[in-house]
Chain length 348, copies 2
């Protein structure tokens, strides 16, 4: 293959894989015609699907493996016995440099465990975090961790804050991003020990971080801060609750527009505007969560997504790779850490 940007795809991950993966790559192809793909998966299943989309086929190389990680596999099991799985080989391709990034809609825990072992952590970060951006009243914000770590100590939360800050700066383009710690109230004494200790650290730190303080669930979509930091348990629940609530609202709207003849007429006039709203909050639009803190770009797609959502996840991977995001985050972390060390030495 040429020197063009290459993305590794776990062709067997996701509820509707491999069809959804091929279709997603085909949508991404139209947006990013210069990108190539390494497809990891079962060749006898993939080849006939690719035959139907010759333009995509020309950009793909299949790397055959009959093995794949199942959704119900424990991460530890996947790690031990999944060395020849489509997911693992796709991650390996990032490590060897064959691909600039990997995208998988498979088992999140397995993907995280494998990515940690293969790509290892950036120095100064103990645990990876899953980050994604989402729409708010004021634009877009980023939240992490969305489910990598169900339990986090204060140090983890502080590291997530640093990574989220760099993400907001380099990806969202915010000059001095504000950071909020998700909690059950804004007052200092609220919440459990981990968030209180993390808040104290972020409040007193020498790092050039704009720490807003605690934020609550409604601040997430309110856009109160640019970066919402939380543990993976609460973050995952918040993310999925937001998705579920948007769906509820959509369904209620659908019902309302069907409830009378006049409402149906109103729908005809308002259809175009309503579709814009629907697109603006479509979870597929925000599909593609980044694993932050690894020496390599790993993008996790929602397992239940469709081709359009998967194409967006591919888009996130391409954006990150094209902008050399990981070098930036590593440089920023080193800069922040050496700055902190210098200040500590100066005052110590």
């Amino acid at each position: 293959m040429s020197s063009r940007l290459t993305i590794a795809l776990d062709a067997m991950g996701g509820d509707r894989a491999p069809q959804m993966v091929i279709d997603g790559a085909n949508i991404a192809r139209k947006r990013f015609p210069d990108v190539q793909y390494l497809l990891f998966g079962d060749e006898p299943r993939l080849t006939p699907l690719l035959e139907k989309v010759p333009a995509l086929k020309a950009l793909c190389e299949i790397r055959h493996t009959p093995e794949f990680v199942a959704n119900e596999d424990k991460p530890s099991v996947a790690l031990r016995s999944g060395r020849r799985s489509s997911m693992r080989l796709a991650i390996d391709a990032v490590d060897t440099g064959d691909a600039a990034a990997v995208v998988s809609a498979g088992n999140t825990g397995a993907l995280m465990a494998m990515a940690k072992v293969v790509l290892r952590m950036v120095p100064g970060i103990d645990r990876p975090a899953i980050a994604s951006y989402f729409p708010t009243l004021r634009g877009e914000s980023v939240m992490l961790d969305l489910g990598a770590n169900v339990e986090c100590d204060a140090d983890n939360l502080v590291q997530f804050a640093i990574m989220g800050e760099v993400f907001a700066r380099t990806v969202l383009g915010v000059t001095q991003p504000s950071i909020g710690l998700l909690n059950v109230g804004a007052e200092e004494q609220k919440g459990h020990e981990e968030v209180r200790t993390a808040a104290a650290t972020l409040r007193d730190t020498d790092l050039p971080i704009r720490f807003h303080g605690f934020v609550e669930g409604n601040d997430i979509t309110g856009g109160t801060v640019d970066v919402v930091v939380t543990d993976g348990f609460s973050g995952n629940i918040a993310l999925k609750t937001a998705e579920g609530t948007a769906k509820l609202y959509s369904e209620f709207l659908r019902g309302a527009f069907r409830s009378s003849f006049i409402a149906r007429v109103g729908y005809l006039f308002a259809r175009h505007a309503l579709n814009k709203v629907r697109k603006r909050i479509d979870p597929r639009r925000y599909n593609g969560a980044l694993f932050l803190g690894l020496n390599g770009i790993v993008v996790k797609s929602h397992g239940g997504t469709d081709a359009l959502g998967f194409a967006n996840a591919i888009g996130v991977a391409i954006d990150m790779a094209a902008n050399d995001f990981n070098s930036k985050i590593r440089a920023e972390l080193e800069h922040l850490q050496s700055g902190a060390a210098n200040r500590q030495a100066a005052t110590g």
Copy 2:
């Protein structure tokens, strides 16, 4: 006062108290003309407000106290030094039997701490939980804990499941409510130890409980189960995230309908249907969270609510008191516990 149902109101609790409390009681008066109120708060401030609503004034008795619990007070401080506060005296009125229930929009932690000390726990329940119902794709469900306990062990979660089950049966009228434990995935190995242990207990229990298993954030509004059980940290974040997301959607809609002339025309036709949707998801409609597990009915209103929201919280208190909910929940708990003890004795 007569033997009519009497509700104690903390007139000084809430961002817009006491005006909001008086206005809320006045809305509630029109819905429940036979109910009387004990207003706890600063008489010189309350009297002129009541003068303006003579019909309400006739149903109210002011119990003067100049003291009140501030929003930023720590629960422990409020407990020690707030014995003459409007909040505490309103709770005391439930204990003495002067009132059938208490409603406060004040400091949640203080209200909970005081209610625990004054009213004490129902035997078999270690900690109170905050419960509320909310709209779903399939009707209405109940979730608890919404913020009373930021950390919960497995036993607490199991007790919440039992209380939620009784709540769904007696309040929502569901014959055999299904119970789900909120987690980051449906698989058995997902989540932290507390939810896994609680799930194992609920799965193996002899109690006649229909345990569905783990549910995720999107299942809350999806209506997958009748009762969603979680710790107070995640529950509070989920609740507020849902409120924030609904608000985001509403704002996006508002913007869309203003975006073009045709959309404005559409709005005119669809206005009636849209208002129905707005009402259906209006958080004020679901305002009024119950503190479960106490020997007395305590309803917490959102601190930032308006008169309409506060009136709904009063409505919850009246419903609970009129249906003698607390006796039912206590009887159910005793029944469940003696049943469990009998089964244990039989098999032991």
